[in-house]
């Protein structure tokens, strides 16, 4: 069978891609297939306890999810909007606070399972256009020769594990940072394993609070973040060395909670030199811009961790040198993998979807061959332009904040203080 589009990978990004295309008016008569290696999960019964895998969803991503009808489901399940983000250094007083002037939501913390539940519902709603193949791992791809060699099939051939074969005019690889589509297409990937793992857990706060701030502190071993889930619960994302991560996972719950509180509250890494230099810089700024610095607040203290909610996964960075080829496009982690310190990972993927869907929709409405490089290259250019600077900046920040060396601490202290005082720079972030 010949499909117009096959999406390989049924995670958040792959499912959203299929759902967005399935709800696009210009794809009304098209045939789309979504290939997912795992079984269909039952999302109808959301447990009361929070899942430990959450994502920070930007307003732009919320708009995309809204366009395919998934956002409504998410809102009716559960999510936590946050208004403010405080980012500060463990080695100095420097900090930066992000908040929107109009007191709008800066972003939303949503469990990944909630997002998947909403997307699955919206895929079911367009089942006449989008066929979801569960337990269907793609094991081989055959690429077409350039279009003008006439006698062989011009389509991409996909072979599934059970021997079934599909043909498609466009293959979208949404199969994660170890993308098989990318490897089989022989697209070079620039990758780097960080010597860090992220520890996630669901935490309960000592007391209920207007939990609408996202907190992140840069420790020398890596950033620790507290993301609000409700007025009494928050999600932990702690990037640290592999050894420390294993320790955190195996220590008893009380010690774990103590480590977290200490990481956020302790000033053990401050040095007098840096504190003085930082204070001088701050007074200099306040001469130029009186409102330039804000008061550093302290995050809520943690009382308990959900049993069984501690987990860890290794971190790395990756960027594909090409996002597209004739009849192939990569989106999400298959195209780019970042450190969670910027909370951008899945938002980059949703951004890819918005851009690719826009170009495919216009191509469909002009009767174009969907696999044509002409519009695929436009997608690649737009997204690489956007993604490369963000991925590079995230990588630089990660390295800059991984040290206690005074000169670098000073640099980032002043840099952070200056950035905090300069509205135009802050808004761009």
């Amino acid at each position: 069978p010949l499909y117009d589009v096959v999406v390989s990978g049924g995670g958040m990004v792959g499912s959203a891609m299929a759902a967005v295309l399935g709800h696009d008016i210009h794809f009304h008569d098209k045939k789309i297939a979504l290939l997912e290696a795992g079984p269909r999960k039952d999302y109808d019964h959301m447990p009361d306890s929070y899942s430990n895998r959450v994502s920070s969803i930007s307003p732009g991503s919320a708009t995309l999810l809204s366009s395919c009808g998934a956002w409504d489901h998410i809102c009716s399940l559960r999510l936590k909007p946050f208004r403010r983000m405080q980012v500060w250094d463990a080695c100095s007083e420097a900090m930066i606070v992000f908040e929107k002037d109009d007191l709008d939501d800066m972003g939303y913390i949503v469990e990944n399972d909630v997002i998947m539940s909403a997307l699955t519902k919206q895929l079911d709603a367009v089942a006449d256009r989008v066929e979801v193949f569960y337990r269907s791992k793609a094991v081989g791809y055959t690429w077409p020769l350039p279009s003008h060699s006439s006698d062989t099939s011009p389509w991409v051939q996909v072979e599934l594990a059970d021997g079934r074969r599909l043909q498609t005019k466009l293959l979208i690889g949404a199969d994660g940072h170890n993308s098989v589509v990318r490897k089989e297409a022989e697209i070079k990937n620039i990758e780097h394993q960080y010597d860090q793992s992220a520890v996630v857990a669901t935490l309960h706060l000592s007391e209920a609070t207007d939990n609408n701030v996202a907190w992140q502190r840069f420790l020398p071993t890596g950033p620790i973040a507290l993301l609000p889930l409700s007025d009494t619960a928050s999600s932990l994302v702690w990037s640290t060395s592999h050894d420390h991560a294993s320790e955190l996972l195996t220590m008893d719950e009380e010690s774990f909670v103590d480590s977290i509180n200490s990481a956020f509250w302790s000033n053990i890494n401050h040095s007098d030199f840096i504190d003085t230099a930082g204070a001088m810089f701050r007074s200099a700024i306040s001469l130029l811009k009186p409102s330039g610095t804000a008061v550093r607040q302290l995050p809520p203290s943690v009382a308990k961790v959900d049993p069984e909610s501690r987990a860890m996964f290794p971190l790395g960075m990756g960027h594909a040198t090409e996002y597209v080829q004739h009849r192939v496009a990569l989106i999400g982690d298959a195209a780019h993998r970042v450190h969670p310190l910027a909370g951008q990972g899945v938002n980059l993927g949703f951004g890819d979807i918005a851009c690719l869907a826009h170009h495919l929709s216009a191509a469909a409405f002009s009767g174009c061959d969907l696999g044509s490089l002409k519009h695929l290259l436009k997608f690649e250019t737009e997204r690489q332009r956007h993604n490369v600077s963000l991925i590079a900046a995230t990588d630089v920040l990660k390295r800059l904040y991984s040290t206690t060396l005074a000169p670098l601490v000073l640099l980032r202290t002043w840099g952070l203080q200056a950035t905090n005082a300069l509205p135009p720079v802050k808004v761009r972030i």
Binding site: D29, P146, S147, H148, S150, S153, F365, S366, G367, D369
Partner: protein
């Protein structure tokens, strides 16, 4: 050569003469296998789809009240005259139309048939036929809702007859879309010298400047054949980006949309002036 010989032998015995210029046929035969190479000799035609398909689509949508954006041209019967390898037929069919593509060069039709054969939806919606326009007139009177003649009229031997045949196979109030090249000093410099000889945007020898058609002349022929010209607009090709855009000036390429009047078919002027036709026919036969 054999098919050309057959063509010349056939002509004296038919009652209608042809708007097809046999020299033109030879030119296109040589490049029949190159149609679908998007970066090859026909690259500029491929990228012309970016403006001519939306032009056709939006004009037809603006004139109709009942359409679905997921299948905008569904229900339209379109004739693509001089369809070549099917570069324009395929997108129109993807938008839902039933397309008949005709071209006098058999190799072109073969290439077009082969290319559509891999897509079952296209294979069903498009029918290709190796034929001139005159040859299908008798069996297709007032059959089509739309005719597209894109980059064709600058290759025909008899423009007036070509337009009259279009009128005959078009339903009343049907639309005719033409894209072609103006005959100006600028189009000689840019369209022939630069495009063919210097930059190789168009295969050398494709066009003869003398056969380019000024929009005034085309409009005159259209109006006197029962068409009402609705739109005339210029097109510009940017060789650096490889893309087309609309422009006000028609001094180079331009597009026309005309609508056939709503009255039923009237007896045509050609039936009453056979002498001039015979003279013209023997003139073209001498040069073939």
């Amino acid at each position: 050569q054999f098919s050309l010989f057959r063509f010349i032998v056939k002509r004296p015995f038919s009652t209608s003469h042809s708007s097809v210029d046999s020299k033109e046929i030879k030119k296109f035969q040589l490049l029949a296998h190159k149609w679908w190479d998007e970066e090859g000799e026909y690259a500029a035609l491929h990228s012309m789809n970016d403006i001519r398909v939306p032009f056709i689509r939006d004009t037809l949508l603006s004139m109709s009240s009942n359409y679905h954006l997921g299948n905008p041209l569904s229900g339209f019967k379109i004739l693509d005259v001089g369809c070549g390898g099917g570069l324009l037929s395929e997108p129109l069919a993807r938008l839902g139309a039933s397309v008949t593509g005709i071209d006098p060069v058999e190799d072109n039709i073969r290439a077009a048939d082969r290319h559509k054969s891999f897509d079952p939806v296209l294979a069903k919606r498009i029918q290709y036929k190796s034929s001139s326009l005159e040859e299908i007139v008798e069996e297709s009177m007032e059959t089509f809702d739309v005719i597209v003649a894109s980059e064709v009229v600058e290759h025909v031997a008899d423009l007036e007859m070509f337009i009259k045949c279009c009128s005959q196979v078009l339903k009343p109030e049907g639309s005719l879309f033409i894209t072609t090249i103006n005959r100006t000093q600028l189009s000689y410099v840019l369209g022939i010298v630069v495009a063919e000889k210097i930059m190789g945007i168009v295969p050398e020898g494709t066009h003869e400047w003398e056969k380019f058609v000024p929009p005034e002349e085309l409009e005159h022929v259209l109006e006197s054949s029962g068409f009402s010209v609705k739109t005339v607009t210029g097109m510009l090709y940017n060789p650096l980006s490889g893309s087309w855009s609309w422009m006000e000036s028609t001094s180079l390429n331009y597009a026309v949309h005309a609508v056939k009047s709503g009255a039923r078919a009237q007896p045509h002027a050609t039936d009453t002036a056979p002498e001039t036709d015979i003279q013209q026919r023997s003139a073209t036969a001498g040069t073939a």
